[in-house]
Amino acid sequence: MAEEEAARHGGHVSAVHLKLGALSGVLKEALLSSYEMACHDTPLAGSRLVVEEVPVVVFCPQCQAQRGLTSMQWFCCPECGTPASEVLQGKELEVVALEIQE
């Protein structure tokens, strides 16, 4: 993907922007430390990984509104305390953008 985009835009990829949800099952620190190793000897060698952490957002059935969780150990609406199982955001593990250096 990086090679395709770099070729299309003429240049090389200098950074990869990633969205990382708190419920993705992946840890930011682990990703950052393995990124450099994984990029070794590839067109991405020397590029940066920019991680944007995405908090968990649930839908509160009582308030009929989106609410950010205050704790991963408490899937309840922080306003009214109603249990909220519908996760709207927080499972992302997604490459959102590439920085291309010309």
């Binding site: 985009e5 909220a84 953008a97 010309e102």
Partner: protein
Amino acid sequence: MIPEPRLVEVRKNVLKANDVVARSLREKFRAAGVLVVSLVSSPGSGKTAFLEKTLAQLRSRFQVAALVGDLATENDAIRLARSGARVQQIVTGTVCHLEAAMVERALEGWNLDDLDILFIENVGNLVCPSSYDLGENLRIVLISVTEGEDKPLKYPTIFNSADVAIITKMDLAAAVEFDYPTAYGNIQAVRPNMQVFQLSSKTGAGMEGYFEFLSARVSELRGTTAA
């Protein structure tokens, strides 16, 4: 002067390759009318003993089969095959979880139309399996009474990704002073409204309620497939 880097939007799911295979598996399972149930838990929580009993007892009611993932050895498949059900081991080598492509490979040559329920026992691990969709209808997370009541709080991601929780080794509950209300509360805290079963694979206590639950899901699935 170095020009400013250009930002190119791409939006690509990192696990897309797995999701694509999982989606095609789910479609295959749906077309064959087979209920697919995956089991996740930490090592030693009793997945294999539980599956052994499940296969042996459900065989008189349904056509059942199992895939079982482990880093090494075929021991679990040998244990499970004693039930007489079709069982296939998936040896993952160094991989700590099952991926959809492994399931797809293991099922090559199977006629899914003959099956009512397919169980997939994941590698014992409460972290990585949460990120990989296997195309299952139902993900069951197991926790044994010997592990402590706070497991759900320590691993909220896997509990949140599961549909049902089963507390195993209930025959040992008194010996380890297992506090069910606390464990139940912790499960509900990380996954509100999750159905919880308590049972003992050893004594069989509580198994019937879980079998009835599975039977209802099979009927439900057949209803939608026929329609």
